[in-house]
Symmetry: C2
Subunit: 133 residues, 2 copies
């Protein structure tokens, strides 16, 4: 085990000081989603033990699960070789995807069949977010 | 199984028409790396069955493994709910990381211990890329 001292992660490396953060289920190892973190989201994630992202559309911190209850408890955090991507291994409560799927990656694409929905919804998003979402 | 017709993935959604592409090992389910694809890299990936990215530093297509031999054979491709992130499940030959680790995510970070190297190198990068890399 070595210890390093440089800026890891390095938020200066990302567009608008945002870095991609991959959430992976710590038990099933499914990749659940990709979102973005700024330094503030990163620090709150480390401090609170729950995944916090930065919402580019709402331009504010996004405490994942605050509305839906589908929080992500942090099990382990990794940062990549270039210090510009974050991997958060989590215990996911409920569905990671706002469309009600376990994972946001419910669409399969191949050259032969094009785009297909490869999974079933865990929950109806209207039950979680109301009817307007 | 439903079929959709809109632009999936939608390269207009990404900075400079680039979308993040996560490579995951199809057998071990380890997240190996994150790189970027433009429309051309995406199309060549679909067509060739091997992962092709767009290198932001070299500003050109990056046929992963062309130098190192550490190619990524595509097993399955997923696109997320917002159509702005790609997940490529691959059979990885050799080390995914240019630093010689199986995965680029070899650094662990936690609030208590800071940054630690959590893994051992599979290969010495000098043996793969020469001494200057």
């Amino acid at each position: 085990m070595q210890t390093e001292n440089s800026a890891i992660p390095n938020f200066d490396m990302g567009p608008n000081h945002l870095l991609p953060a991959i959430a992976q289920d710590a038990s099933s190892h499914r990749v659940l989603m990709l979102a973005w973190m700024n330094a503030e989201a990163w620090e709150e994630t480390l401090r609170s033990g729950y995944a916090v992202y930065f919402s580019r559309s709402r331009n504010q911190l996004w405490r994942k699960g605050e509305t839906s209850g589908h929080r992500q408890k942090v099990v382990e955090i990794r940062v990549d070789c270039d210090a510009d991507t974050i991997l958060v291994m989590v215990e996911q409560t409920g569905a990671a995807c706002h469309e009600g799927y376990e994972s946001c990656f419910f669409r399969k694409v191949d050259a032969e069949n094009g785009v297909t929905i490869a999974e079933k919804r865990l929950v109806d998003p209207r039950d979680v977010y109301g009817t307007t979402k």
